[in-house]
Amino acid sequence: MYGALWRLLPGPTWLPVCLLFILAAVAVYACFTWFFPTIAPHMPFNDTTVDAASGRGAVGLGPHTG
C-alpha cells in the first residue's frame, strides 16, 4: 500500500520524501480539526454532568455532556 504510493511518485528521492511529508501533515491537520472533534462526543470518557441519560431509571434532566 505505502510501497505502491512510494513507487507511484516521480522524481529523485527527495521529491517523494517532501510530498509524503506534506501529505502526512495534511492528514494530521484533518484529524485534529475535523475527524477527532467529530468522534470525541461519542467517546465514553468525556461526560461531566449528572443526567438521566447516563444512568437507568432516573428522571429526565439536561443534555449529556463532556
Binding site: 477527532f36 470518557f45 468525556n46 449528572v50 447516563s54 444512568g55 434532566l61 455532556t65
Partner: protein, 243 residues
C-alpha cells in the same frame, strides 16, 4: 512452480496491506490521544481566556477597584438570565492558584460551552446568588479542564462567582461522589428534590475518577457574603492584582 510463487505473492501482498492498515490504525489512535489530552487543552484554554477578557472589557461589566470591598450578607444582586452559550460571569477558585478565572456560560452542552473550556450552568437551576442551587459542570480532564483539581478543594474554601456587578462568595460545605444518574445533587435543595429551598447554594459537578466518567465528583458550597464591585474585591482576589 510459478503458480505457487504467484499465489504466495498475492498472499504476502494481502498480509502486507493488512499490516500497513493496522500500523495506520495504531498511529491514528496515538494521534487521538495526543489530540484529546493535549491539543483540546491548548485550544479550549485560549478560547476561555479570550472569553474572559472580552467579558471583562464589555460595557455592562463593572471594573472593581483593586482594594478590599465590604463583605455584605444581605441578599446579593442576581445577574440577568442569558441565552445558551452566553456568559453569566466568571468563576474564581483561590484554591486553584492566583489568576484562576474561568468563564461561566449558560447551558451544559459540550459543543459551545464545556468543550470551549467554559464552566456550564445547568439551565434548569438557579442563577448565582439566588435562593436555591446554582449548579455547574465542567471538564475534569481535556478541553481546558476547569475542575481538574476539584479534589484539592477543602471545607471552608471560597468559590467566588464574579457577575457583572458583584462578587458572590460561596464557602465549600461538603463533597461527595455519586453515580452519573443522581440528578438530585443539582436540586434546589441538593439531595432533596421537591423541597423548598431557603439557602443560596452552589454545586460543582465533574467526572470522577480522573480520566474516567464512571462517577461524578460533586462539591457543594453555601452563600457566605457578597462584595459590590463598585466598592472593591473579596480579600482573596485583592492580592492577585490585575483582573
Amino acid at each position: 512452480m510459478r503458480a505457487a510463487r504467484s499465489k504466495r505473492g498475492r498472499m504476502s501482498a494481502i498480509v502486507g496491506v493488512a499490516g500497513e492498515l493496522m500500523i495506520t490504525a495504531g498511529v491514528l489512535l496515538g494521534l487521538y490521544v495526543v489530540w484529546q489530552l493535549w491539543w483540546t487543552d491548548v485550544e479550549a484554554r485560549a478560547v476561555a481566556e479570550e472569553a474572559v477578557q472580552e467579558w471583562t472589557a464589555s460595557d455592562d461589566v463593572v471594573q472593581a477597584p483593586s482594594q478590599l470591598g465590604q463583605e455584605r450578607t444581605d441578599p446579593p444582586p442576581i445577574p440577568d438570565a442569558v441565552e445558551h452559550g452566553e456568559l453569566l460571569g466568571t468563576m474564581h477558585i483561590p484554591r486553584f492558584g492566583p489568576g484562576y478565572q474561568v468563564p461561566i456560560a449558560h447551558g451544559t452542552s459540550p459543543v459551545g460551552v464545556l468543550d470551549q473550556g467554559h464552566i456550564g450552568h445547568y439551565e434548569q437551576t438557579q442563577l448565582p446568588g439566588e435562593v436555591g442551587n446554582f449548579a455547574t459542570a465542567a471538564h475534569r480532564q481535556s478541553y481546558g479542564a476547569p475542575y481538574r483539581e476539584i479534589e484539592q478543594i477543602v471545607h471552608g474554601d471560597e468559590l467566588i462567582v464574579e457577575t457583572a456587578d458583584a462578587y458572590i462568595v460561596y464557602e465549600v460545605v461538603g463533597d461527595e461522589i455519586v453515580h452519573p444518574s443522581q440528578v438530585e445533587v443539582i436540586a434546589p435543595v441538593p439531595g432533596h428534590p421537591g423541597q423548598v429551598p431557603e439557602k443560596r447554594m452552589i454545586t460543582l459537578t465533574t467526572c470522577h475518577p480522573l480520566y474516567s466518567a464512571a462517577q461524578r465528583w460533586i462539591t457543594y458550597g453555601e452563600f457566605a457574603y457578597w462584595v459590590d464591585k463598585a466598592d472593591g474585591k473579596p480579600a482573596a482576589l485583592v492580592d492577585e492584582g490585575g483582573a
